[in-house]
């Protein structure tokens, strides 16, 4: 029982954090937004391969780093903190371990080296962000993971509130698979934590900068207490997400529900702190807020996960109460 990262694990997470913060800046995102041909903006994909991020949880025999999935969850939070626009987490955190389980060695090696992009599909929605950049799709069908070539599916574009999410409906989504959905849910929850954290940081910066009535607005208790509430919710969401990354079961669904509620609260609070400025493109908040709204519904929305939790927690044989900690 040791619910913290080892120092080696923490180092990997910090390194990813440093890379994201240095490269995937707000300016980089603005460039993507403003460019009519976003492909002009250099992709970070080769860097991900070089840094070993794509093979983070892959077996050593495939030149992977063989890290625990919980490290991937830690990195997903850092990706959320910068609202990463490339499907690193989905590919490295979902496709790679499932490919390893499938023993699809050839594809796995190509994905890890950055030469192939295999995007996982959520059977619940069939909606995939960046689907246009994928070479293949990983779907769950009839209880098995299956690879589908891009040429075998039709992609129908959708318009998300988040312009940095090029969203498509995939014609063959399958009916889902626990190995895919579970990882998707956990990493999505972790990403949402990072987005929430960033929305607090942006709000704190704004509240220190902005003056009204001759004072920094961040000196008013009303502002302080709202941000302290969001901070508290984040601090009590991250551990259940990490637990979910370590141990399956009902905490996976709890992690997702908590991260949705926290992200919605973070966005509402952030825009309240920003006032009218939060509505402008000048201020960066909108990029994180829109991503949060979009991701809340990915990998099963709140209704989906609450409905599952309900059957688990209200079951007659549910393990509840002291003395049953983490024993489900």
């Amino acid at each position: 029982m040791n619910l913290i990262y080892t120092s080696d694990q923490q180092e990997l997470i910090d390194a990813a954090d440093g890379f994201f913060a240095g490269e995937h800046t707000v300016d980089y995102m603005r460039h993507l937004l403003e460019s009519d041909a976003p492909d002009d903006t250099p992709s970070l994909w080769n860097n991900f391969a070089e840094l070993g991020l794509l093979g983070l949880v892959a077996p050593e025999e495939n030149s992977g780093l063989a890290q625990d999935f919980s490290v991937m969850a830690g990195i997903a939070e850092m990706a959320g903190n910068v609202a990463l626009t490339e499907p690193l987490i989905e590919i490295a955190g979902i496709s790679v371990p499932v490919l390893a389980e499938m023993r699809a060695t050839e594809e796995l090696n190509a994905v890890i080296s950055g030469d192939l992009k295999i995007l996982p599909v959520c059977g619940l929605s069939g909606m995939v962000s960046h689907a246009d950049k994928a070479d293949m799709f990983l779907i769950g069908d009839g209880g098995k993971a299956r690879l589908v070539d891009k040429s075998d599916v039709t992609l129908t574009p959708l318009k998300s509130i988040d312009p940095l999410r090029k969203l498509y409906k995939v014609s063959h989504a399958g009916d889902g698979l626990e190995a895919i959905d579970r990882r998707g849910t956990i990493l999505n929850a972790s990403f949402l934590c990072g987005l929430s954290k960033r929305m607090v940081t942006l709000s704190v910066d704004y509240a220190k900068d902005r003056e009204q009535f001759g004072k920094q607005i961040g000196s008013f208790q009303a502002i302080k207490h709202q941000l302290a509430n969001v901070h508290t919710q984040i601090e009590f969401t991250r551990p259940i997400v990490q637990l979910a990354a370590t141990q399956n079961g009902r905490c996976v669904h709890q992690a997702k529900v908590s991260s949705i509620d926290t992200a919605m609260l973070a966005a509402e609070t952030a825009i309240q702190v920003h006032g009218g400025m939060g509505y402008t493109f000048e201020v960066s908040l909108h990029m994180f807020m829109k991503r949060a709204w979009a991701l809340c519904g990915e990998w099963g929305d709140r209704n989906h996960h609450i409905n599952i939790l309900e059957t688990m927690i209200l079951a007659d044989d549910a393990e509840l109460g002291p003395g049953t900690t983490f024993s489900y």
Binding site: L124, G276, W293
Partner: protein
């Protein structure tokens, strides 16, 4: 005390309903924050005016029907029931118009009210400044008297409708020695004045609903002063007063949204989490509370009472009710909540737009934090800081 509409009121309602049913466009107009949408909304205002439905509470001499506020609530209910277009002229007819009736000279009434009512002149607000948002007394834009003209310099922000409108009204500092609430004047400015630059603000939804206004020695005749020079704060407060503010947020708007929410709920009920049903009931229940409270307040106003700090509780209640209602819709839509278009998008993203709009409710017209301060200090009597 009674809650029964009179025969006259029922007859009025029927008249409104009939006219709207015959005249409301069959399809929703494009956003009024696009040129095309703005023009279509202006055309709708002209149609309303032609039918004598432009502003029913205005006196007959100015093109209204002299209706009571209770009648106005009925009009609004029918208006929202018919899903009629947003009022592109709302800054003028709801806020500036009544102020001109109270403070304007006869010439100003003659000059401004009719084109305003007719939709020929659409007005924008010019209150906030980059350094004066919630704290409006921090206004720095100045208007310097030069003979028969004011020379205006400075910057305004969050000017709604300004991108496509004809005129704006706002507060400017006419006494350079003054500070805070003193020395401000309310001045009317044509948006095509030389020296005035209108810069659209790209918003969350991409449309330019607001603009920044840059005044570089913009000249307007002193006749464009509304009310006393250096007495603009009082004039502005009258504009911001409850009776008029109310007109922008009659219960009808929320009744319409809550009824749509009930429908959305029913369409999705079988896949929703168990708590949603009570959230939907809460939304409808709060709407009924807001409706009852508004009819009670309007009865007080119609009977001659004046309303002041009640406006703060009102602002807090409707804005947080509206946000909660739209948040519930977002939760119901779940994985489809993010969609503006495409397979699965619900009502072309109308709830999503509504949610973003609802988040502004607790911010604009005095943040809810400020409203809570006002309630605590002026109504409950708690000490100032």
């Amino acid at each position: 005390m009674d809650a029964v509409f009179s025969d006259n009121q029922n007859q009025f309602r029927q008249e409104v309903r009939d006219w709207l049913s015959a005249n409301v466009p069959g399809e929703r107009l494009p956003s009024l924050d696009t040129q095309e949408g703005f023009d279509l909304h202006r055309a709708w205002e002209r149609k309303l005016h032609a039918g004598n439905w432009g502003m029913v509470t205005w006196p007959e001499e100015f093109g209204g029907r002299g209706c009571s506020l209770t009648d106005w609530l009925i009009f609004e209910e029918e208006y929202y029931r018919a899903d009629a277009p947003l009022r592109v002229s709302q800054n003028g007819i709801f806020l500036l118009g009544p102020t001109i009736m109270e403070y304007g000279t006869d010439e100003q009434k003659e000059r401004f009210l009719k084109p305003m009512a007719a939709g020929d002149e659409i007005w924008a607000q010019a209150w906030s400044e980059p350094g004066a948002g919630s704290d409006m007394a921090a206004i720095r834009s100045k208007a310097v008297r030069d003979g028969d003209e004011y020379v205006i310099s400075g910057q305004k922000i969050w000017s709604s409708r300004a991108v496509f409108a004809d005129w704006c009204f706002g507060l400017f500092r006419t006494d350079p020695e003054s500070s805070r609430h003193h020395g401000l004047s309310k001045i009317l400015v044509p948006l095509d004045s030389p020296g005035l630059t209108v810069r659209p603000i790209a918003q969350l939804d991409g449309d330019p609903g607001f603009a920044e206004l840059f005044f570089d020695e913009v000249r307007v005749p002193v006749n464009n002063l509304l009310g006393p020079e250096n007495g603009g704060w009082g004039v502005a407060m009258a504009t911001a007063g409850f009776e008029r503010g109310l007109l922008l947020r009659s219960p009808a708007r929320f009744q319409a949204a809550a009824a749509r929410l009930v429908k959305l709920y029913k369409q999705n009920a079988n896949r929703l989490s168990s708590g949603i049903k009570e959230q939907v009931l809460q939304a409808w229940g709060d709407t009924e509370r807001f409706t009852a409270a508004t009819y009670a307040l309007v009865a007080q106003v119609d009977s001659g009472a004046s309303i002041s700090s009640e406006a703060s509780a009102n602002k807090i209640f409707w804005s947080e009710m509206d946000r909660a209602m739209h948040r519930t819709a977002m939760t119901i839509m779940g994985m489809h909540a993010e969609l503006e278009e495409g397979d699965g998008a619900i009502e072309n993203g109308r709830w999503l737009d509504g949610y973003m709009f609802s988040l502004a409710g607790p911010i604009y017209a005095g943040t809810n934090e400020i409203q809570r301060n006002i309630l605590a200090e002026r109504v409950l009597g708690l000490p100032r800081q």
